[in-house]
Amino acid sequence: MITTLLILVMLPLAMTLWRMIVAKTLVDRVVALDMLTGVGVAIAALVAAMTGRREFLDVGFGLGLIGFVGTCAFAVFIMRKGRSEQ
């Protein structure tokens, strides 16, 4: 049952990755990165439920942390680059 859900989650993962590749602007890519970490947390939780090992929940927590820091860093980069033009 959980395996079916895990296979279902692969479709948002693949579509987000595709969106990240074909996006025209940098902001779209960072939005896709944010979504990708959310899907990654969901996949880590589902793997924890499937294998019954608690360590994968820690993996999900770390993934969420890295995704937050990465999105904030890219947002500050976009803001500085956009301002430097004026």
Partner: protein, 155 residues
Amino acid sequence: MTEILAVAFMLAGVIFLFAAMFGLLRFADPLQRIHATTKSGTVGAGLILVGVMIQMGDGQATFIGTATVIFLMLTIPIAGHLLGRAAYVSGARLDGLHGDDALDGVLERSPLTLDEYLAQSEKITSQRNPEPDRADPHITVGEPTSPVDNQRSAR
């Protein structure tokens, strides 16, 4: 019974992740995509974590899962807000906007999008020194110019 409840929570989370995916694929401009992915993606991942906690039924797993849910609920709105502000300030397109721009005059906004601006600045720098290879004297393949020739042409 708990098995069914856990799978129901996980299925709801997967449905929310699919909603976030469709929003990311179908919406018109970056701000609308941020709106879709931050809200729906957070709820989807949170519901899946709740389902996993119910299924494992373990004290330690419940603690880590609850910490992850609270962390996601606290951080993803902050990241989305920061990204939305950066997108607006750097001049992202507002194709899906109906009506007036409510932030017009409140925040400074650059007229070009960031990618157009980067392409333009790249073009300007390439015009300023068109072929940098020619300027390097060590790579010239044609007739070698001696210093005497240079002095004659200078006169």
